[in-house]
Symmetry: C2
Subunit: 234 residues, 2 copies
DNA sequence: GGAACGCTTCGGCCGCGGCCGAAGCGTTCC
DNA sequence: GGAACGCTTCGGCCGCGGCCGAAGCGTTCC
């Protein structure tokens, strides 16, 4: 009779994610940005009133957080843990019974390169992880990684400073995350986030409107080749 | 409009976990053992017919798998990925709005030591991870780890052989898993499973009936002290 | 100040899915 | 062979929760 309590707790959270409209909202927020209630309404597939109700439920359960700004209300995922749980569920979902719906160009774009909460995913994310380990910048033991000294110097030269935050310590420096499209882990944690931010800053990647998918710019193609030896596409 | 597809897939899986009876069933199976439909019925809190329906749904979605044996049907989690998703959800659930129900002795037992799928969790699991890293047997970069040579020798002397499986390679040697009660990662993957198995074999830990909780035996107390420098409890 | 906008609250409808009683089917036991 | 057991299938009930129309409230714009 022991696990009843944990069962209830599990069911509560899972049920929140188990509604299509709410799952759509959470999926949108998986790129880590904050979106307005209107934007989320649009993606959710239901009316504004209904979406508002869903946002209230998600907020109350602390899966998302809200900040007011003028007459807008911005919602974002409440924590990386929430993102991780969603990603883990998507990984399970992708194993499912051959539900490979007709794969459209949007899906292909997502598989090529996308953001996953605050870091890079898709083939680009995997290629990056492979490149860093291949050059001995990182030892990746399947589900997380340790930077080598060589790797620290490299990142520094690439414009990334990973100063140890006082409180957080080495926590979360290099987590990984199971990539649902590639079914292999990509880089998350502070390192993953820093790489992602740097690539946006350099103009190597750009967001595709209304999507988590990214385009790799011309300078991105060059840069990835030069710095990481990655040649996206083929 | 992009994420609609992934939203549906996410919602499908989450909804399966989002029913209290099904969540109870999944929680029971989190220790990695296979249980009969009757046992799961007992834990689920609903009638046998209803539980049977839930088991059918979970099976069809490939969250659990079934094997017949005589007039029994044994169910178990279908994959480590499913366990990981559940654990990630429980981690989110435990952050929740101070829903600390009256903590009973059973809950305390779970926090002390329990199995999590095929490895150890709770304070014992965390202490073990700390001990291994403290002795430089393992470099634990937050969400996974790499064994040192010293560590490999140690494990060998402790009776654990981690031969590289041909196909699986280094995959999953040392994953980690966020412990919902301690809120820090404990050891999972092949290493976590091997440590857990070894401790059962040595008679250091024993299962508490109808629970994921474990008791640490007298020889376990001694062994943990000698080999790992761990003194459980206080 | 009034209109447009962004978002939420309130009410009431409705259907999906969980529930159990009854029945059925395969296996084991003696 | 018959009874007990383990589990599932079938039917029909019922209520929770998602849904939208209407209304309301704060903010911005001119």
């Amino acid at each position: 009779m022991a696990p009843i309590v944990s069962g209830i707790a599990l069911a509560e959270i899972a049920a929140l994610m188990g509604d299509v409209a709410r799952a759509n909202i959470l999926s949108c927020l998986m790129d880590g940005r904050a979106l307005t209630a209107s934007e989320l309404t649009w993606h959710s597939g239901v009316s504004a009133q209904t979406a508002s109700g869903h946002l209230a439920k998600l907020s109350e359960a602390r899966l998302i957080s809200m900040t007011k700004q003028g007459r807008h209300r911005y919602y974002r995922l409440a924590s990386p843990e929430v993102a991780q749980a969603i990603e883990a569920l998507m990984a399970v979902a992708s194993f499912g019974p051959k539900r490979h719906r007709p794969v459209g160009p949007k899906d292909e774009a997502l598989r090529r390169a996308r953001t996953c909460y605050d870091h890079l995913a898709g083939r680009l994310g995997i290629a990056l992880a492979d490149a860093l380990t291949g050059q001995d910048y990182l030892v990746l033991s399947d589900s997380a990684g340790v930077l080598t000294e060589k790797g620290q110097r490299f990142l520094c030269s690439f414009g990334i400073g990973l100063e140890e935050g006082g409180k957080s310590g080495r926590r979360g420096l290099c987590r990984t995350c199971l990539d649902w499209s590639e079914r292999r882990p990509h880089l998350a944690g502070r390192l993953g986030a820093a790489l992602c931010t740097r690539m946006f800053d350099l103009g190597w990647v750009e967001r595709i409107k209304d999507s988590r998918a990214l385009t790799i710019t011309a300078s991105g193609q060059r840069g990835l080749k030069e710095v990481f030896g990655i040649e996206p596409q083929g």
